[in-house]
Symmetry: C2
Subunit: 278 residues, 2 copies
Amino acid sequence: MSAAHLTWLDGAPATALPLPDRGFSFGDGLFETLLIRGGRALFLDLHLLRFQYGCARLFLPDCTDRLQRDILAFCASLPPEHHWAALRATVTRGAGPRGYAPPPEPAPRIVLEATPLARDCLVQLPPARLVEAQHTVPLQPSLAGIKHLNRLDQVLIAREARSAAADDALVYDSAGRLVSSGNANVFLVIGGELHTPLLEDAGITGTRRQLVCHEWASALGLDVRIGVLDRGHVQRSAALFLTNSLVGVRAVGQLGERTFEDHSIARRLFAEYARSCG
Amino acid sequence: MSAAHLTWLDGAPATALPLPDRGFSFGDGLFETLLIRGGRALFLDLHLLRFQYGCARLFLPDCTDRLQRDILAFCASLPPEHHWAALRATVTRGAGPRGYAPPPEPAPRIVLEATPLARDCLVQLPPARLVEAQHTVPLQPSLAGIKHLNRLDQVLIAREARSAAADDALVYDSAGRLVSSGNANVFLVIGGELHTPLLEDAGITGTRRQLVCHEWASALGLDVRIGVLDRGHVQRSAALFLTNSLVGVRAVGQLGERTFEDHSIARRLFAEYARSCG
């Protein structure tokens, strides 16, 4: 890894993870991907809320306060080349005896990894080229919504997208319902309204998805409906756009053979996003 | 971790995993749990076959030969207190740039961790006390069968079993079909025949399951049927038993409120198992 990849473990610079570790062994933990701008993690509160909810869902000790302190100190320590950076914060259930059973008193580990981003993230990325993923994600309400470390589905989907020379892939669950893209939440524009999947059975409830639903769309006078969507809804869409912490809001320019021309809503939402970044 | 927990990374003693690592970040990799006896990994060939199949399924470079060499050298280096030991062999897709997409030319890492077992593993464990897990596992044919690193379901199931003061839990998939226990394959004895789940949509195809199906049962004159099983089959069973690499074959003595008395088949299969251990 390049020297620009900076890592902290439990509040201090590190280059390696002590073994054994349950994050490594079982994916037993959570992560957050944050956008850093000038030593500040954007929308940190929303990331911490999701993280805290994830701790409860996985019966991890709530270490949200510790995570917040570590993130603030780490961000303050970043060099100028990290003005824009992607911060990956990973929290594992720590060490433990052999076997799946979580230790009765786990000591979670916090790993922070920052990678500089060589672009001005307040400039919207050009519309994305998507394919429809062949790989479907399973229905697992127990793990849906949270950003846990079991991400093999996303790895295989990203591989599919790259094989098709696409930026990303549109992802359905095994029941044929729309979930997300490989690394972003997805919104459909149908009849002037925004629609986004419910994510009760699969997917991750993104921070920027939440901001679209509760702030940015209403600022534009747009309604958002959260519900069950399928391929029919995608076909009827006049436009699609993606949201995640690193791109903010990005239009979909192409989905398979189909081209989308009107990116006005994604553009206006990005302007709201950029304003919110302060 | 106690000093008795010995770790190798890529063929040499180590105490930590270099970061970034895709096994840590996404559970992007595979593992095997092997039983060590006197410096020898039992049924190593079967473990390596499953590992090789897993590499193909996850589009990992096939590093089976390297894994075999590392395991043989590691086992030969173990101290006498590791006469009986559990060896966890983990192979990750190694480092990589940020994001889910696997690097075009991954450099897999091999981590070996050995923990001594303080018992004679050729003595059968007493019958296990099981509960039925409330947590169900999702249907994901793309990842079924192989022993990948995404094991949050098993972590939550093990937690459930421990909360119920049980040894393990009987696990169903979200369609209500029997899969396994939390850490073992499961067989039902119905009408003098053995039945075990198909595992096309969930579960791990265990090495000892394979040996029961193809060697040990027939040595006892028993037929094995591999198929779709549900709660009705479990209720009609005269006996249940579990198989995995560390216990070999273990009878189920209790399942919830129900008690099983006749452990003769599990006992006879364990004798075949012990003979096969040589």
